[in-house]
């Protein structure tokens, strides 16, 4: 199995996309970006383990989102599918929303380079490095303060969990760059 592209390589791709669409402030309009990349974004309720889907064919790119999920989760799904759209060429990606306890499902997703890349892409698109770094520095955010993280999550329209995870991941880069 190939190695997934690094977070930094994917950051460079996403930075280009954001710049091309003049997006400088959160929250990032992921649906607009998906459409700008050529997808038709469609929402529909699905009772079961499905977050979203990307299908290419006959000049169509269909990006389906499970509308029963929380709006923040739907944004993540769109961002994740944008990752597949931008980085991968398979005709179909079906993204099931497995629970953590399903060990096999998670471990196979966790090592699938396409999925790792799409998740990195999604994190970068929803919480772009430069934007988040500025917010962390400008607003003197205390990463240990729950209220601060809560405010940031709201500003970026992502879950608190996603924001916490993201800050943990990029903190080292920020420290290396600035201190």
């Amino acid at each position: 199995m190939r190695k997934p592209r690094t977070a930094k390589a994917i950051r460079a791709e996403v930075t280009r996309i954001l710049a091309a669409h003049g997006i400088e402030k959160p929250s990032v309009p992921v649906k607009d970006i998906a459409e700008a990349l050529g997808a038709r974004v469609r929402y529909s309720p699905f009772e079961g383990e499905l977050a979203g889907m990307l299908v290419r064919g006959d000049g169509h790119i269909l990006l389906g989102v499970n509308s029963l999920h929380h709006p923040n989760r739907q944004r993540f799904t769109i961002a994740h599918e944008c990752g597949h759209l931008w980085l991968h060429h398979d005709e179909v990606h079906i993204d099931r929303s497995f629970r953590i306890k399903k060990r096999d499902a998670v471990s196979s997703l966790a090592i699938d380079p396409d999925e790792i890349e799409a998740n990195r892409f999604a994190a970068e698109l929803l919480m772009p490095y430069a934007m988040l770094k500025n917010d962390l520095l400008d607003y003197d955010i205390d990463v240990e303060n729950e209220q601060d993280i809560h405010e940031l999550a709201k500003r970026y329209e992502v879950s608190i969990q996603a924001m916490t995870h993201r800050i943990t991941n990029i903190l080292e880069d920020i420290l290396r760059e600035h201190f």
């Binding site: 199995m1 889907m53 299908v55 064919g57 398979d90 005709e91 179909v92 990606h93 079906i94 196979s108």
Partner: protein
């Protein structure tokens, strides 16, 4: 390696939606619909039991049961035999295009084994 990746490597766009749908034994909507039509026409004729129909076409009662439930795949000559025995044109036993199995561009793309619910969901989205 996930099934998605495996499928991604072959050009499934050249395989027809019908052929793809047949690869999954749990998903044989075409034969199910055929079976339902056989049963419909058989039951229209009073007293035509599965056993009698089987006798008319040279098959066992079990075979007729299986055909009616879509578990047994009939040969072309059997379609004609069944049609004769049921006193209908062979076309009457054939599912309409799009009935039982969806033959849209989307159906052809989904990997074999995709859950029926997910396929139906995607199909609905693609028509919006």
């Amino acid at each position: 390696m996930s099934i998605l990746q495996t499928v991604g490597k072959i050009d499934i766009s050249t395989v027809s939606a019908y052929t793809l749908a047949m690869k999954d034994p749990a998903c044989d909507p075409l034969y199910k619909t055929f079976g339902e039509l056989v049963r419909l026409h058989r039951e229209r004729q009073e007293g035509l039991t599965q056993e009698k129909l089987g006798h008319l076409v040279g098959l066992s009662r079990t075979s007729i049961t299986n055909i009616e439930q879509g578990r047994q795949h009939v040969a072309l000559h059997q379609v004609f035999d069944l049609a004769d025995a049921l006193k209908v044109q062979p076309e009457a036993l054939l599912p309409r295009r799009g009935q039982g199995v969806t033959a849209s561009w989307l159906a052809a793309k989904l990997p074999p084994g995709t859950e029926k619910e997910i396929a139906a969901w995607a199909e609905k989205l693609s028509r919006e």
